[in-house]
Amino acid sequence: MNEYQLNPDLFNDNVVMEPIRAGFGKGLKAIGGTNDKVVALCADLTDSTQVGLFRETFPDRFIEIGISEQNLVTVASGLAMAGKIPFAVAYAAFSPGRNWEQIKTTIALNDQPVKIIASHAGISVGPDGATHQMLEDIALMRVIPNMIVIVPGDSIEAEKATQAIAENGKPSYLRLAREKTPIISTENSPFEVGKAYVLREGTDISLMGTGAMTYQLLVAANLLSEKGINAEVVHIPTVKPLDSETIISSAKRTGRVLTAEEAQVAGGFGGAVAELLGNQLPTPIVRVGMQDRFGESGEPMELFDYFNMTGEHIANTAEEFITNKPQYHREM
């Protein structure tokens, strides 16, 4: 089992909150300092995506693309052909929302190590409403062969993930969020592309989360423990390739799986876990996330509540699931 050090202040009132995108900004600046092949491109969203930090530090390696996301990723493809490591940065709603085919053909099939950085993903973008709440991107990206898909759980992990994908030589997708969320990890917590981490061991159900939803799962696990339910929490920042070993072994231990993501459950992270379990260890599963509907305007936490994605809602969903579904494949 992986040793994962949770933020000791996680459940205190003074827990540090930071947007996940901020970690990307710091990570890119750091890797830019050690690898001069790293370049960054942005589609007129430089400050809000946090790529501004890289632009200030390495102005010669920053390229403003304007509001043209198809051009963003195809110019990045060309830069990669010339030996660079391009970070193509925009909002998830537009990239990959608008340029999926270019990503597939000129980056994934073309096997170029372009990093697609998608900020402001999920419903937590809030008041901007459904047009700007990208919920389909996990599904869109993970069906492309040769694409790495990472959804960091906090800004520290986003910083590590940014540096990890910079030098992996592969097309990679990094999904970021706008809103401040609790720091769940520490500088010493492990992060490796393709690895999942058991944050809390349990016996009754595995709560598997990606991105900031892992925090909600930890909240749910605390609430469940008050009711005598012993939930395991697995943090899965890499949606593709999935850490099948960790996921299967957790499902074996608990016999029930709940997934949580700030995205459409159809085809998304929950879909990926369901496929894995269906193939290797059929296990009852319930998927928390967007249930085949669009978001709408609202404050982020209002929306989480409205769409049943808070820790409280997840605890209720888990409890109901446990009541109604038998536990399969339990191996003590």
Partner: protein, 288 residues
Amino acid sequence: MGKQLSLADLQKKANDLRIDVICMLEAAKSGHTAGSLDLAEIVTALYFNIMKIDPKNPAWTDRDIFILSNGHTVPIQYAAMAEAGYFEKAELQTLRKLGSRLQGHPERVKLPGLENTSGPLGSGLSQASGYAYSLQYLENSKHRFVYVVMGDGELDEGNVWEAAMFAGKYKLTQLIAFIDRNNIQIDGSTETVMPLEDLKSKWESFGWHVIEIDGHNIQSIIDSVNMAKAITNRPCVIIAYTIAGKGVDFMEYDYAWHGKAPNTEQAAKALHELGIMDSIINPEETNI
């Protein structure tokens, strides 16, 4: 490369590549004939006169870059690559067949010497711009050039004009674009499907230097590239007026040949026009 080929040699080579294209497409039983034929002179001039390349060392770091944006015309590129020595000519017969390195649309990872993967239209100019940006601003490699070939129908794609703005903004002087202005696309003539004219002023207004040439005149192609290289404050686009299906009388000007391969009988007739007198398609006799 060895000694400079004469204009007559180059013209003969263009004709040979057309013969290869007809044989490849007949064997493949599918593919895009018209554009593959009409690009013969441009591709010949690039591969056998203009570009600095080393077919025996496709990854040579000082090479010029060729990006085919309208990937459906790749048979002419494959034919040129085989002729130049990137691979054996016999392999041309595998076009579009299972397991072949010669995919129906070009895939970089499959065949050394291909610089990009294309087919879905409109992305080549952006890729070429990214490469040219790197040469001009990130590497200071002033002696290398990036050539991109686009179809004219392809200019319907918005991605092309995003790239045109980008290259104009950054004054990518090592970027040289060709437009194969053959006036056809799948549904008919370009001016019927979605009018492109006034094409010259469109590109000029995006900050490009425009050169217009007869795309079947090899001397004009070479001269236009030399002119483009002399323009050092803007990207250059060469609008090459061509005849779709050039070289085969019954294919010329006919948009029906955009996405169709000749059958055996049609191929024999086409080869006859191209100077192959034997009426039977026989790979050995047609030197493939």
